[in-house]
Amino acid sequence: MTDDHVYLTLAESDHEAEARWAYGTGFADPLLGVDTALAPDVDGADLSLYCQMLGDDALILSQRLIEWCTRAPELEEEVALANLGLDLLGQARLLLSRAGQADGSGRGEDDFAYWRPEHEFRNVRLVEVANGDFAFSVARLLLFATARGALYELLAGAPDPVLRAVAVRGAKELAYHQEYATAWTLRLGDGTAYSAERMQAGLDAVWPLLDELFTPHEVELRLGVDPTALREPVLAALAEVITEARLTVPTALPLARIGGRAGRDGVHTEALGPLLAEFQSVAREHPGATW
């Protein structure tokens, strides 16, 4: 132990140092030991679509979080926001990979992320709208993390082993996201007059997009993972935070659907097109290339 280099002593404590890195040789497979065989009573096409729904939510929100990079209100928040983005990106990768296994197409995570057209993206509209200011982003994160955390707890009993594994791991990550978003909602809501105004405006703006997270798609119903059950506990949890932040729980009506369809059906806002154009641009410039 070298006493004048604290981090050397810290480094000594790990036997799998490499596993800590997002890259490097020792990357630990999060699905290690998980039986990836499809359960016989689960429809592969349905499971694939469901994995795309949850995977796209995580993927698109991580892209929005990434847009904060070099623009955060303080350097400590740069690190925190990147962490949230990395967690969601990690979940998206597992879920999209599973989607390609489930439907038997053998498509990988990148096939889904880079080569699907917009109308095949299944994310809710909440995650795709532009970032707005920090209060708006915090409001969106609060809604998403609260709802997704609750869903992952529910999915700990899902019919698919990979989905279960993602949910168990993701629930811990989402608990942190919720803690982060809650803390900032309180600070902004109960901070200065201006920040309270911004936080309220942020909540009012994202509120109409919340309902989609509780509106079941036929695929979800067939898989027995009805998100309707989340509505009450999530609304109660949100109301508690918003009240503690001395703000008003918005009463705005849900954003209208189009002919009964919305994000889960591949019908989006105008925000998704430009996001994907940027996201997919390099990959599409080099068809067939590996990176």
Partner: protein
Amino acid sequence: MVQQEQSALEERFDAVVAAEQRIEPRDWMPDAYRATLVRQIAQHAHSEIIGMQPEGNWLTRAPSLRRKAILLAKAQDEAGHGLYLYAAAETLGVDRAELTEKLISGRQKYSSIFNYPTLTFADVGVIGWLVDGAAICNQVPLCRCSYGPYARAMVRVCKEESFHQRQGYELLMTLMRGTEGQRRMVRDAVDRWWWPSLMMFGPPDGDSPNTAQSMAWRIKRHTNDELRQRFVDMTVPQAEHLGVTLPDPALSWNEERGSWDFGEPDWSELQQVIKGNGPCNAERIDRRRAAHEDGAWVREAAVAYAAKQEERNV
């Protein structure tokens, strides 16, 4: 009497440094030593933070999810490195807010390399390989710097930086094995980044008046030219292995020296970039200033909330 005390303090300081011991924050130190460290550590911290921008430019467009995750983790590391370094600077009695102010008003510098644009995704790989590689050459000796907090911060920075270099090189190997379009991107990026990377070590020894004092204080361990040579010797075989040609016709093995001879960088270009005329100087500072100013109301709200909470708890 006072003078006697002063010289006793100086003697003790010199003895600690000469014995390869560390100077710690509350120790007496010469004013010029403190000022040199503040300037160097602040510049280093600013470089990490500004350095997030050129690569951050490709975060939203990274062509695979794995590369996206790696790049995001790397940008996060850089923010972390900036923070460790600002923390080290603060032990010398300066405030981070003050340093940030000096950065965005142009009164403190950051590494000129970040004033060059990233034009293709291959730039991400070349920055990892050459820019982070050059940074490692500069930084490894700093782990033995005489100022304790700086040395300790550098231990961690270097550990993480070596992974950055590896990911860069691995990306380039992948691209060189890929399509002709990908290989072209790599060659173009190497052509653009090679000379600026050599300039990262600073002006030639003859034009670097502060080096001698920094070496006497054990802040610096090697001269600019020594480090530049070390970098070239390390990099040439890597370039050969990669299958790229470094854009220097004067590059040749010198049997006698056991080192590579190389050409002279265009120092007038470096001077231009340092003086603020680099391709991206204005954008880099503007972005940093915008983030700082746009975030002011958020930071203020957090302070106001903390004050209210404290009041309520009384």
